[in-house]
């Protein structure tokens, strides 16, 4: 089986994704994996119980598609892109592998501790070898690991391909804010670019001994303390967006959990990544590489809008920036990949 053929590595193109119901509904790639996992688990009674639990958990979480972390949140969320779902799937596969191995190992230990105590009159056996057992517990983990690495490989290969993007955004990290430039959209340079930094309310509240209540920092009903900016990055849904990421000073890392990846912003170097957002919404993240004293205070906000709205927004920005854009020479096509 080719890597791509693993049901999870997602072969749906941008066009179909955009029209697909995001929550709960139709079969997406991730469901494909779930079905497979269920099938293999469902052969035993405990397997059935576990798969039922897995199903409930998974469905609940995939419907929650929340844009902010929740209080007492326990698990990763599957996000709003294929990449994020891949991360979530990979996470759930290994998590369950570990839970099951853990149950076996710790169960055996618990049994031994209970059964073979001196106080219960246990007499120690004197053997210290069992080649068959040792071979088994070397080989089985290897097989399990291969089974985990396989889908992960497929996902990675898919995610490495940044070609054929509709929109290219250049992200530059600064101590302690982000700059976004809309390099080209549908093949044309846009001339739009701006800085984005922590909103002033959070900024006031976060000062040492400010006496202000972080819970009071809100956008609507959302408690956005330290997760809000003055000017969000606006992106279209349903289109492949390529990011070229760099930094002006130290290393930062651009991370929006709902998109499913983070990539370091290295000074004088470009890293690239892509996303395809399936659902309009506001997605919040933070700088994820220690970058100095205000590392904790350089959030990222992505506002994903349907294409029409996005086009409108972009046009408005271009109009505002018109004098600047006029002087900017059209850029040659960037290498893809």
């Amino acid at each position: 089986m080719a890597f791509g053929a693993w049901p999870d590595a997602g072969s749906t193109g941008p066009q179909t994704v955009a029209s697909r119901p995001v929550c709960g509904g139709g079969p997406n790639d991730w469901d494909g994996f779930r079905v497979m996992a269920m099938k293999s688990l469902a052969t035993t009674r405990t397997g059935r119980a576990v798969s039922a639990a897995l199903l409930t958990l998974a469905v609940n979480i995939s419907c929650a598609a929340s844009t902010l972390p929740a209080r007492w949140q326990l698990n990763m969320t599957p996000g709003v892109t294929q990449t994020a779902r891949n991360a979530y799937t990979a996470h759930m596969i290994v998590l369950w592998v570990c839970v099951i191995i853990g149950i076996i190992v710790f169960g055996a230990m618990a049994y031994a501790m209970f059964k073979f105590r001196k106080s219960k009159g246990a007499v120690a056996a004197q053997w210290s070898h069992n080649t068959k057992a040792e071979v088994i517990w070397t080989v089985i983990p290897i097989l399990i690991l291969v089974a985990c690495a396989w889908p992960a490989t497929g996902m990675l290969i898919k995610q490495a391909d940044t070609s054929n993007a509709t929109l290219t955004i250049k992200v530059t990290g600064y101590q302690w804010k982000w700059r976004y430039e809309y390099l080209d959209y549908e093949g044309k340079p846009t001339g739009v670019g701006f800085m984005s930094k922590l909103d002033s309310e959070s900024d006031k509240t976060r000062q040492l001994k400010s006496g202000l209540d972080p819970h009071a920092v809100k956008v609507g009903n959302d408690a956005t303390y330290l997760l809000n900016v003055d000017k969000p990055l606006v992106l279209p849904t349903g289109a492949k967006i390529r990011f070229v990421i760099t930094s002006d000073d130290v290393i930062h890392s651009w991370w929006v959990p709902a998109l499913g990846w983070k990539v370091d912003a290295n000074p004088n170097i470009i890293n690239d990544a892509w996303t395809l957002i399936e659902q309009p919404g506001t997605y919040r993240g933070q700088c994820a590489e220690l970058c100095g004293q205000d590392h904790g205070f350089m959030p990222i906000v992505v506002e994903a809008k349907p294409k029409a709205e996005f086009d409108q927004w972009l046009a408005a920005q271009q109009a505002a920036a018109a004098p600047a854009a006029a002087t900017a020479a059209p850029a040659p096509a960037a290498p893809q990949g």
Partner: protein, 290 residues
């Protein structure tokens, strides 16, 4: 196991004050160096005081060892411990150089080609350094330190290679002489080795002066200058230490400290010298020739 052989007791020395002296020396050196770098006035003198204390420590410590050795406290097993100690010390030195060689290889194989737009670096080059073409030597897209010239491999560096290779031969001859009991030959060839070490250092100093004065090749000449001077510089430092060690050994030979079959001190220095030699060959290949 090597326990038997006459003295079957492993010699465990009494307390010694030298390690404590060494600690104070090291501490003073490091504090001095850090303050020196931070431009605190007493940093520089403190550094040299520290180095002096370290030298005093070595003098005293090795003196103790030599006295004990001459008094015959050491059995074969103790000797093996010393040998192992020296071998693993040299291994750690190899790994120290490996870090700098690693930096050189990484720069040449990855970072410079990437900046020039090869493979993984296509976007970096396109967006940030479009006019930069990868080459070696280089001072990077920022042309740090301004344009510079390099030291041609087939002049002084080749000469230095020959000098070091010859010194490897002379020290081996000296070793054979020691084992065969030819004292004069030993002193002459060991002396030659010291001289060759000194000669190497002289040429290297010339080379550095040339680089700084005429070629504009400095530590600041981008990654080429960085790797060039750090590798050759640390090597030169090791040659300096090695030469001093050889000199010490020469005096010890003069005093007749070594016997045909008991001359670990000599061998340790010889190993060290060979190690310095081999590192140079790597340097000559990867820094100068290729």
């Amino acid at each position: 196991m090597a326990a038997a052989e006459g003295k079957h007791i492993y010699y465990v020395p009494h307390g010694s004050k030298w390690p404590a002296v060494g600690t104070i020396g090291l501490f003073t050196t490091m504090i001095g160096a850090a303050n020196w770098l931070n431009e605190v006035s007493w940093g520089k003198p403190a550094f040299f005081v520290g180095v002096a204390i370290l030298l005093f420590m070595m003098w005293g410590w090795f003196g103790d060892v030599i006295r004990e050795s001459i008094k015959g406290f050491y059995n074969a097993q103790v000797d093996t411990s010393f040998r192992m100690g020296m071998m693993w010390f040299i291994f750690s030195e190899i790994m120290f150089f490996a870090a700098f060689f690693g930096a050189l290889f990484y720069a040449r194989m990855y970072s410079v080609p990437w900046l020039g737009g090869e493979g993984h670096g296509a976007l970096t080059n396109f967006y940030l350094h479009p006019e930069y073409a990868a080459a070696w030597p280089t001072n990077g897209p920022g042309a740090l330190g301004g344009s510079f010239q390099t030291i041609p491999a087939w002049g002084v560096p080749l000469l230095n290679t020959l000098i070091l290779l010859t010194s490897g031969v002379t020290i081996t001859i000296a070793h054979h002489a020691l084992r065969a009991g030819h004292r004069l030959q030993l002193l002459v060839f060991l002396g030659l080795t010291v001289a060759l070490g000194g000669l190497f250092l002289f040429f290297q100093a010339e080379e550095y002066i040339e680089a700084y004065k005429h070629l504009n090749l400095t530590l600041g000449s981008g990654v080429y200058g960085s790797t060039f001077f750090m590798l050759t510089g640390f090597h030169g430092l090791h040659v300096t230490l090695g030469t001093i060690m050889l000199l010490v050994i020469w005096f010890r030979c003069l005093k007749g400290h070594f016997t045909k079959d008991n001359h670990f001190g000599f061998e340790a220095v010889a190993w060290y010298w060979h190690f310095v030699d081999v590192v140079w060959l790597g340097l000559f290949m990867f820094v100068y020739v290729l």
